[in-house]
């Protein structure tokens, strides 16, 4: 009886986690683009790494406005994934390559809040709301020579994020990287 109760509790917890996992955006279908790209950025940060980053930046950037803004933004995040490719010439990727990602963003839970499409450019922003708050958002930015996908899990204020550029984010005191950037 006790064992059955334990199994029921574990199953209940797993079921509660399931919708969030299903709604988490997986960036797939872009394999091979890095090889064609002039420059590519591949960043995946889970909650543990974000906590470490937040802690480090809280110490390193506590005296700067930018550092505080970033620490504040990171505090509500659970995961960040960025795939960005810059090509020498146009036509290195197809819009169909984005279909796997866009299909996930058409599922219930996600809603498109900004969409701008022209002949060869797409800018789309999607958000996922939970209890009236932003629980995740995704950006697809496709230009002839550039493709960027950003997926962020967690609560974030898009206006605060938007202001980061004005603050000059790169100037925060992050020590130089010793190894090669991916």
């Amino acid at each position: 009886m006790r064992r059955l109760f334990l199994i029921a509790v574990i199953a209940g917890c797993a079921a509660a986690q399931l919708p969030a996992q299903l709604l988490q955006l997986r960036i797939t279908g872009l394999d091979g683009l890095a090889a064609k790209a002039k420059e590519s950025t591949d960043i995946t940060l889970d909650s543990n790494l974000l906590k470490m980053a937040g802690g480090f930046l809280a110490g390193a950037g506590k005296d700067s406005k930018d550092g505080q803004a970033i620490t504040q933004l990171l505090s509500g995040l659970k995961a960040i994934t960025v795939r960005s490719f810059e090509f020498k010439e146009p036509g290195q990727y197809r819009m169909e390559d984005l279909e796997q990602i866009r299909a996930q963003l058409r599922t219930p839970g996600w809603s498109k809040i900004i969409s701008s499409q022209s002949k060869d450019e797409i800018s789309e922003i999607y958000t996922r709301m939970e209890q009236g708050k932003v629980a995740g958002f995704a950006i697809i930015n496709a230009e002839p020579k550039e493709l960027t996908i950003v997926a962020i899990e967690g609560s974030i204020d898009l206006n605060d994020l938007s202001k980061l550029k004005a603050l000059g984010v790169p100037s925060i005191p992050v020590p130089e990287k010793k190894g090669k950037q991916e």
Binding site: A53, G54, I125, N141, T148, V150, L158, L161
Partner: protein, 103 residues
Amino acid sequence: MNLEDELRAALRREDPSPDFARRVAARAQSSTKPARGIPWMMWAAAIAALLVIGFSAAYEYQQIKAERASRDAVIALRIAADKLNIARERVVRRETPANTREN
């Protein structure tokens, strides 16, 4: 008895007792060798030194990992902010009539 006879009597050859060889062998076996191992304080010092080195290496590794994560987080947020602003600008540009933009 003169001195010479006394000496001869004292130094005369005598056979050992019947169990002499067994007793010598038994004593040789039971004798313990002096301890020549490393003293326990040396062991303790070596273990303490290893622990200090281990913890320092682990701390250094965590610091490097945190630095790298913070750098990646900053880059990721910068890219996200940049693309968010581009999308917003495009929408604003599209919704603003051309003549209004010129003014």
